[in-house]
Amino acid sequence: MSEQATPLLEAHNVTVRFGGLVAVDAVSANFTPGELVGIIGPNGAGKTTFFNAISGVLAPTSGRLAAHGRDLTGRGPHRFAAHGVARTFQTPRVFADMPVAANIEFGLKFAGKRRRKYLFWGDEVDVPWALRDATSILALIGLSEQAALPAAAITPSQQRLLEIGMALATRPKLLLLDEVAAGLTEAEVEEMARLIRRLRDELDLTVIWIEHAVTTLLRHVERVIVLHQGRKIADDTPHNVVRNPEVIEAYLGDEMAEPGSEPQDEEVAA
């Protein structure tokens, strides 16, 4: 694991149990500033449950969570949001009756709220320029034209973008993306991947990205965590992960492991 900086988010032996079922089994992971991490695993591997645990939506049965070295185990999602952990949901959960711009403003008024320059007026301090207000966030995610429409009236793929925008409005340091590319067309997936890379590069966000489309994910991330039956079976670069025998057996299948079939992954490793 990386030693160069203090981790933004630390998960230590996080376990989530639903009755007799162990959904997440003693998973430990550190996420450092500026990382782009992917989480993959077969259906029911505990990816989303792990997300729920590290965003505070679900309190872990045991284990420890800390953001910036501060212990947040068992705290509510609003505490995680206040410490810069933002997330999207698998199915877009936008405020359907509110206009698109109001959806963005919601986050700006709560977890994204910052101290103003002169107590009650002036610009907010410590805010990235691209996240300064709802208009700029809409421009960043490319929904400027839909700003006045109610969120229920835009297309599902636009709602996914809006989800990301709502998360960005909390001015996060860590962005958790739960299958943001599911159900999108090939072109839209590429667009989404480019947006995610841009967020990471321009805003210095740490991004953790769950995706079912493994090939797309492996092409864009720098580190992959593989979950299988709740346990972490690999945590490495995509290059190494696709050659990991345990991962191949559990998930990827043989065709992914053949050297010829993964030209995309070379450029990441390089």
Partner: protein, 342 residues
């Protein structure tokens, strides 16, 4: 209209209503004034109820509990404290009870929340009854020191105006936005940084403060109170009904419905008590079916769409009755048969 214009409009409308209510006792009869008092009481109760329960969609049936707590505060303390202090204490005790109750049940949603608040109301009612019987040895209490009717009227009027003013104000604050977010998607609001637990308890306590204050002010009207009159669950139900009929999310809905309701109540209750309850039920059913936004969401377009729906329905009926529909079916069948031959 921008938001400042809306604010000005709302404040002006509120002032106009308040002025009208203020002038009423000077020219209207005793009967009309007492009707207006009931009306103002329900304006205060339902506006404050809609403030929390409307935007968060938490259906609370505990209004009568807070009302009763306020009434009993007056019954016990009015001799020793002044009028305003007593009302403030009544509101304060209701707030404390609401915070404890809210901390216990506000993590539940929907029916469970509604049933539990109702259950707690019953619990408080029976606790007070038991306490009165076994400790103080009375069934009810007689209020001896009673302020003038005019004072009661003005107090309830002030509470009603305050309730509407607070609704206007809360809608424009972060607190109101947080309540809206909780109603739309609680978990999403949480992940965007809203401390939902705190916001819900605060909202519930705010509702309770009004119910408690109104209870404390209205107690003196009865001169004799016992637990079953002031903890009457009907007060809670009526508050919910009025708000639903008027429109839970609207500012003026509860006020409009409270006026309609009190006029209906006073004019029908004495002559035809059954018809009064029936018409209330009928109004609720009609509102839920055809006007989910409540009376205050009525617009010209609503009438137009109703008219269109009725016309379409009549056209359909006419086609059916004249046998045209049947003939059309047969024609379609014949066409299909013919296409098989080809």
């Amino acid at each position: 209209m921008n938001s400042r214009q809306i604010l000005i409009r709302d404040v002006l409308v509120l002032l106009a209503f308040a002025g009208w209510a203020l002038a009423l006792p000077h020219y209207a009869s005793e009967f009309v004034t007492s009707m207006a008092l009931t009306c103002l009481m329900y304006v205060a109760l339902s506006s404050s109820w809609g403030l929390f329960c409307g935007s968060t969609r938490y259906l609370s049936l505990a209004t009568s509990a807070f009302f009763g707590i306020g009434a009993y505060t007056t019954a016990i303390l009015l001799g020793q404290f002044g009028w305003v202090e007593t009302i403030a204490i009544g509101a304060g005790i209701a707030v404390v009870v609401a915070i404890v109750m809210g901390a216990a049940v506000l993590h539940l949603r929907g029916t469970y929340f509604a049933v539990l608040t109702f259950g707690m109301t019953e619990l408080i009612l029976h606790a007070v009854t038991y306490f009165e019987k076994s400790v103080t040895g009375t069934v009810g209490r007689v209020l001896t020191v009673v302020p003038e009717n005019q004072v009661i009227y003005l107090t309830v009027l002030a509470l009603a105006v305050l309730a509407v003013a607070v609704s206007i104000w809360v809608r424009r604050t972060r607190f109101g936005l947080a309540l809206m977010g909780i109603g739309a998607d609680e978990q999403r609001a949480q992940t965007l940084g809203v401390n939902t637990r705190l916001v819900k308890i605060a909202g519930f306590a705010l509702t309770a403060a009004f119910a408690g204050a109104v209870g404390a002010a209205m107690a003196v009207r009865w001169t004799y109170i016992d637990p079953h009159t002031v903890f009457n669950p009907f007060i809670g139900f009526q508050t919910v009904l009025i708000t639903l009929i008027g429109g839970v999310l609207t500012l003026w809905g509860p006020l409009l419905a409270a006026i309609i309701f009190s006029v209906l109540a006073e004019s029908l209750r004495l002559q035809f008590p059954q018809i009064y309850l029936m018409s209330l039920g009928l109004l609720l059913i009609l509102c839920v079916l055809y006007l989910p936004g409540g009376l205050a969401s009525l617009r010209w377009a609503t009438f137009k769409s109703w008219w269109n729906d009725t016309r379409d329905w009549a056209k359909d009926l006419k086609r059916e009755l004249s046998g045209e529909k049947e003939r059309e079916k047969q024609r379609a069948k014949r066409r299909e048969k013919e296409s098989h031959f080809v």
